[in-house]
């Protein structure tokens, strides 16, 4: 019995010593970070940044911010570690609430995209993009509307005409739920094409395997992100009717997809992703990251990563970005109001 006790005590001692050393290290940095607030400009950042993905591991947000973190480390543009943590829940609103608790802090950066605006507009949360400090817009993916390769719809206008004649004749499918991205992006284009009874269009949400549903002929049109179906478009299993950028994107087969604008529909939808700091993020922090991000998007590492992931470079600095957010927010507001899902 005493041998067991000895081993346990030994283990305990090692654990305690280990803990002290390892936390002691970060303690040192944190302390110097606090006292250095006075002379911020040269001493920021001193402690590790907290990069947050407001979604689960493997998702779009997660992928984006991990890429940012990696590029910052590989290019040594960030003098401190930038570990990524996940804080999923409520379509990103759980993390949004968390950021409010960290008001004024200088070491948190989150990635967000359209749901940031949508969760506020559809009533999920009272918080909105105005409760954050937008830092920069980084990338954009665009929506694409695809049909099966043997479908009778050859252009996006075929679909629009069919819907105008009978809104129930075309079944649109998507992965996000009603009132969220895949639904809204289609409606924005439909509205721009002159459809007025948006409510009557049947949008069906599939939690899993929505690509299979299209390929199996169970839905007529799939509303999704360009990067989600690249492989299937390349293989010819799916035909892309239109994408929602205002310019041609991608290479190869993707570059051949016409935009909605080219086909006479004056509408775009940008699935933008950008970086945000907590509300009232200190000036020196905002300045530092604005400059760093500016440098980052010009690095070959970043460009390569974007190419690999099929992301369109949509870099915008903070001021332009804020204006953009306001415009887009207004657009979503209109659509949600038309389908009765605006909660304000």
């Amino acid at each position: 019995m005493s041998l067991k006790k000895k081993i346990l005590s030994g283990l305990l001692a090692v654990s305690l010593i280990g803990t002290t050393i390892l936390t002691g290290c970060s303690t040192k940095d944190a302390n110097s970070g606090n006292t250095a607030k006075a002379s911020e400009n040269d001493n920021y950042p001193k402690k590790a940044m907290e990069f947050i993905a407001p979604g689960g591991a493997g998702g779009g947000w997660d992928l984006t911010i991990r890429t940012v973190s990696k590029v910052l480390q590989d290019t040594k543009l960030s003098p401190v570690p930038t570990p990524v943590t996940n804080r999923p829940g409520g379509g990103g609103s759980v993390n949004l609430a968390y950021m409010q608790e960290k008001k004024g802090s200088d070491n948190i950066i989150s990635v967000y995209s359209s749901p940031l605006l949508l969760t506020n507009l559809n009533g999920t949360t009272e918080l909105s993009y105005k409760d954050t400090t937008p830092l920069a817009r980084l990338i954009a993916d665009y929506a694409v509307f695809v049909v099966r390769s043997d479908s009778k719809y050859k252009t996006i206008n075929d679909v629009i005409d069919a819907l105008k004649k009978d809104p129930k004749s075309v079944k649109i499918g998507g992965a996000s739920s009603v009132g969220s991205m895949d639904h809204i992006q289609f409606l924005m284009i439909a509205k721009a094409a002159g459809i007025t009874n948006l409510k009557d269009i049947d949008y069906i949400s599939f939690q899993e395997g929505v690509n299979s549903q299209l390929l199996g002929g169970h839905i007529d049109v799939l509303s999704t992100g360009l990067s989600e179906v690249t492989g299937l478009i390349e293989s010819g299993d799916m035909r892309a009717l239109a994408q929602t950028a205002d310019h041609r994107v991608g290479t190869g087969v993707l570059a051949e997809i016409p935009t909605c604008k080219e086909q006479g529909i004056d509408g775009t939808f940008v699935n933008w992703r950008g970086l945000f700091g907590p509300p009232e993020m200190p000036e020196y922090a905002v300045k530092f990251w604005a400059e760093t991000i500016d440098k980052m998007v010009q690095t070959p590492e970043w460009k390569k990563a974007c190419e690999r992931n099929g992301w369109d470079n949509a870099y915008q600095k903070a001021d332009e970005f804020t204006v953009f957010l306001e415009e887009v927010n207004k657009g979503y507001e209109e659509i949600l109001s038309e389908i009765g899902m605006l909660k304000k």
Partner: protein, 152 residues
């Protein structure tokens, strides 16, 4: 207490609460306005039904009382209540005090309940070792975010 009958009664109550909540759900603006309510209301009603069936059949067959050993039940219930309270406490302090400290506190309480006051040395050693090892294993090695220690 005839537990099956109690089960039936609880099920009925649960069904009632759930069905009431389901009826209060807002109308959907896209598609069939009452569609989101149908399934919940259906389940709720069925639950009330089966709950009633169970309660009545049990009471009819064996009555409300049953020959359970009362003494044991009370002690077990006490332990379960204390454990549950400890878990709730764990949840409340988790984010404030960080993973390691709150887990040490939690485990101390649980081990107290299981192992007894006399073994407090072993308890403490186990609590601390577990908390620290798991912290490092999960947060450093496996990349799972665990709240760090608060004092800096």
């Amino acid at each position: 207490m005839n537990l099956s009958a109690l089960g039936g009664i609880l099920a009925t109550v649960l069904g009632l609460i759930y069905t009431t909540q389901a009826l209060m759900l807002p109308k959907a603006s896209i598609g069939n306005p009452i569609a989101p309510k149908i399934f919940p209301i259906g389940i709720g009603i069925l639950l009330i039904l089966f709950g009633l069936i169970l309660s009545f059949s049990e009471i009819k067959n064996t009555g409300l009382k049953k020959k359970d050993i009362e003494k044991d039940k009370n002690e077990n219930i006490k332990l379960i209540t204390y454990t549950s309270l400890a878990c709730i406490l764990y949840g409340l302090i988790f984010n404030r005090l960080g993973y390691v400290i709150s887990t040490i506190i939690f485990l101390e309480i649980i081990l107290l309940l299981f192992n007894g006051k006399e073994k407090i040395k072993t308890n403490t050693i186990v609590s601390i070792c577990f908390s620290v090892i798991i912290y490092f294993l999960f947060s450093r090695f496996l990349g799972v975010t665990l709240p760090a220690m608060p004092f800096l």
